[in-house]
Subunit: 124 residues, 2 copies
């Protein structure tokens, strides 16, 4: 008797750019698209999925919600290289040099982190 | 060879208040707590979990990321009543009256939506 997180919604000025980025990051695919936005999801049917919503206004301040990722099927260093190759940018939100994670941002500046331990290491 | 969403991080001026709210909403529990924040998770080990991080600054604009919830184990109307009882507030972000979801916000004003279809209906 609770709620369940079904969707993470992300506002975007350019939904296609943001949706494509997150599809590449997560290995997901576009499952629905209309003038309001783009829904993306993994092939395994797991939740939450992501809805990228078209909005007119650009990001102005650091997001109060962000996603933390773990590399799945490769080392964290390899995944960092891959994310940078996809267009992720290293981002300084005042985290300093004493943290174990890497702060990045997506094409519209939405901050996210790559955590130091991989999925396998965190599950182990 | 991808990344996986492990954690949804939420900045909070009062981490305990925000963490307790989301524990109640999701039926989760506190799994770790220190001076930097509070980690909450479900008992089934599923990802993503939520980390509530202590920050000094208050929320100033509509969040660009938000969570969409589905009622799990009860009707959407019943779940809406329960969420309002937990301290969720009905929130106007310009959604109008023509949408199927209800926009709410948590104790620090983080917007979230209760979708019209329950978990069971969405899965069916």
């Amino acid at each position: 008797m609770t709620s369940r997180i079904a969707v993470i919604a992300i506002d975007a000025v350019q939904p296609r750019v943001v949706a494509d980025f997150w599809c590449n990051v997560l290995g997901w695919q576009v499952v629905e698209e209309d003038e309001t936005g783009i829904s993306i999801a993994g092939t395994d049917g797991s939740w939450p999925t992501i809805d990228v919503f078209a909005v007119p206004e650009r990001k102005t301040v650091k997001n109060r919600l962000h996603l933390d990722l773990r590399a799945d099927g490769m080392t964290t260093a390899e995944e960092l290289d891959r994310l940078l190759g996809l267009g992720a940018r290293r981002t300084d939100i005042g985290q300093g040099t004493d943290v174990s994670w890497v702060v990045l941002s997506d094409p519209e500046g939405n901050e996210f982190c790559l955590l130091s331990r991989t999925v396998e290491e965190a599950r182990g």
